[in-house]
Amino acid sequence: MTLVNGKDFKGRVHKALKDEELRANFRRAMDGLMGKRAMQFTDGDEWTRLRNLGESIKKRALSKLPELLERLEENCTKNGIKVHWARTVDEANSIILEILKSHDVKTVVKGKSMVSEEMELNHFLGDHGIRALEADLGEYIVQMAGQMPSHIVMPAIHMNKGQIAKLFQDNLPDTPYSEDAAELTAIARKELRREFMEAGAGLSGVNFAVAETGTLCLVENEGNGRMVTTVPPVHIAVTGIEKVVENLSDVPALLSLLTRSATGQPITTYFNMISSPRKEGEKDGPKEVHLVLLDNGRSKVYRDTETRDTLQCIRCGACMNHCPVYTRIGGHAYGGVYPGPIGKILTPQLEGLDEYPEHASASTLCNACVEVCPVKIPIAKMLVRLRDENSGNCPHGEHPLKGRGAKSSTIENAGWSGWAAMNASPATYKVATTAMSRIGNLLPQSAPMLKEWTSVRVKPKFAKKTLHQMAKEMGLKDE
């Protein structure tokens, strides 16, 4: 069963909007997160300078991406980390399976990794008889529920305590129903401790991969990320190729932007920098560390200098926390791995516009995401670009995206041609607007567009006279 699917967006939206519990869960969570973030950036000048810095660091890294990837590989290899390259999720999955098989691993414990969600790794390993166990509390909950994360930072944000209490009670032996968050957390701690001890391998994502030193950086609060990268004898890190940064000194700014934007924390509990497997004489740490670099469409996104900006993303999730659409429909409605504004631009680029035809239109272009993005990704501009691509009327852009023209409609194009003809010619505009002010109100409610509009609104009323006519009557100069 694959959970990733872009089709039937509207069906899922319909369901989500009707789910009052879900709506309330998201509203409460997003309000909280927006408030916490705001407290972190009360100094407008510091925010402006820091995000300019963050943007320049990511842009610089992307500008030399191939070179940095090679440097990363070279330095990792020097440090004893094995580097693997994967063009597709299938390749990445096979690489990981092979590593696990060679160590006869039965269970792999996982830290949070959105890339592994992209790969549907758990599912894949399960099919090959290897159990992949999520250890991040939110991911643990979501996995138990047989769902996907609904948020890239807080995977179980769509659920409330009651739902989680029931889930634990139903799935864990001898677990009484409890809505106490501390108790629920303690239950997970107890369940997972033994798993960390016994697992044959640990798997994690990467927040920043430092080319200069061959260092893999992980950001987390719980300690599960440290557990999976330290206790089992093998550690496999998976990352998208865009996560590489040039220098170690590039990391502090990005780290600060990431944690403050994501959850409103000055820093997370743990910032874990891994540069090698266990060295001679060291008493703990994995004996092998592997790094899997996944492309999965990223190099195509990279080809176009406009869409390239998408790859600046540091996965803080601030865009979704501030998105009025995400707040209403939640993460699962998007159907892809990455929900919210970043998902709206990233997913169709990775998977194709034809696979996710509604994503670009599901935005009011309110720019709330653009305002908070810590690396200044022009999300709204990208959405407009994707709409151009969707309609197939895309004279710009160096490379067509997969599925260009997915929403192309002869009728709609003709409609816009008519609109343009009317508005580009003063004489036609005058005739048309005069006519509309006389008879526009006779349009039936069932007319195209009006039907959707009037589902919750009254019909807009054309004025008897246009402003053009009134301005003339006022004697305003026309020149």
């Binding site: 009025p324 935005s363 709409r387 710009h396 508005n423 009037t454 609104r457 004025a463 246009t466 402003l467």
Partner: protein, 252 residues
């Protein structure tokens, strides 16, 4: 990020916008009257139509450019162009340079973009208008459009103007900066999401117990008041210009 204030000009252009032209001409007239009362001449080029935003945001860039191009030659004097809409102002100010990148008319587009002002910003920061309230005591709330806030840097200006009115109590809307769900064609392409957003906005509006909802953008207004009327709410929506003019002009 609001526009750099300039010296008070002798005359300005007024770009009415297509929504005002067709649905809310009184808002346009009120805006013009407010400017004229400050001793500034208002020029209204009759050949103007639409800024092009509907097509620009709908994946129809070439058609947006055709319509935008038709506006470029109408506002050539070096005087401000004032719009009673943050969204249309944002289109010209922020997106015209993008839309005409690499085009023969690029310089013209930039020149126009640089002279664009949103009405409330212009009244407050350029004309330095002082309002004398002549109306009855009233409770109102304010909805700022996304584009006026995030593309034009118009955040406090409209509220500062409303607060100049002695008899008006301005009640802040909960989640004031959140989008109302209009988004142009979004309202009809994603009608269910739009409906959920406007319904939440209307709840917040009603919770203020304001008599009027004042806004500076007719798109938001058409959406929010369209829904308020649909649910038979008592709250009336109107454009900031109309509200300010109503309360400060000498009754004829």
């Amino acid at each position: 990020m609001s526009r750099t204030p300039i010296e008070k000009p002798k005359s300005v252009y007024f770009f009415g916008t297509c929504l005002v032209d067709l649905f809310y001409p009184e808002a346009g007239v009120a805006g013009i009257e407010l400017i004229k009362r400050e001793g500034v001449e208002v020029i209204f080029p009759q050949a103007q139509s639409c800024c092009g935003q509907p097509a620009f945001n709908s994946g129809q860039r070439d058609k947006a450019r055709d319509v935008a191009r038709a506006q470029l030659d109408l506002f050539t004097k070096d005087i401000p162009v004032v719009l009673p809409s943050g969204s249309c102002a944002g289109m010209m100010f922020k997106h015209y340079p993008e839309l005409f990148e690499g085009d023969v008319d690029y310089n013209k587009a930039c020149a126009l973009a640089n002279r664009v002002y949103e009405l409330s910003d212009f009244l407050l920061n350029v004309l330095k208008i002082k309002l004398t309230d002549k109306g009855e005591p009233m409770r109102v709330t304010w909805h700022g459009s996304c584009h006026s806030q995030r593309e034009m840097g118009v955040r406090s200006q409209p509220k500062d103007l409303i607060n100049q009115l002695e008899n008006v109590e301005l009640v802040e809307l909960k989640r004031e900066t959140e989008c109302c769900g209009f988004g142009g064609t979004f309202a009809v392409r994603q009608p269910e999401i739009s409906a959920a957003m406007v319904s939440d906005k209307a709840d917040d509006v009603e919770a203020t117990q304001a008599q009027k909802l004042v806004s500076g953008d007719c798109g938001c207004m058409m959406n929010i008041t369209g829904h308020l009327d649909y649910r038979k709410s008592d709250v009336q929506g109107l454009h900031l210009a109309e509200f300010l003019w109503e309360r400060t002009n000498d009754p004829r």
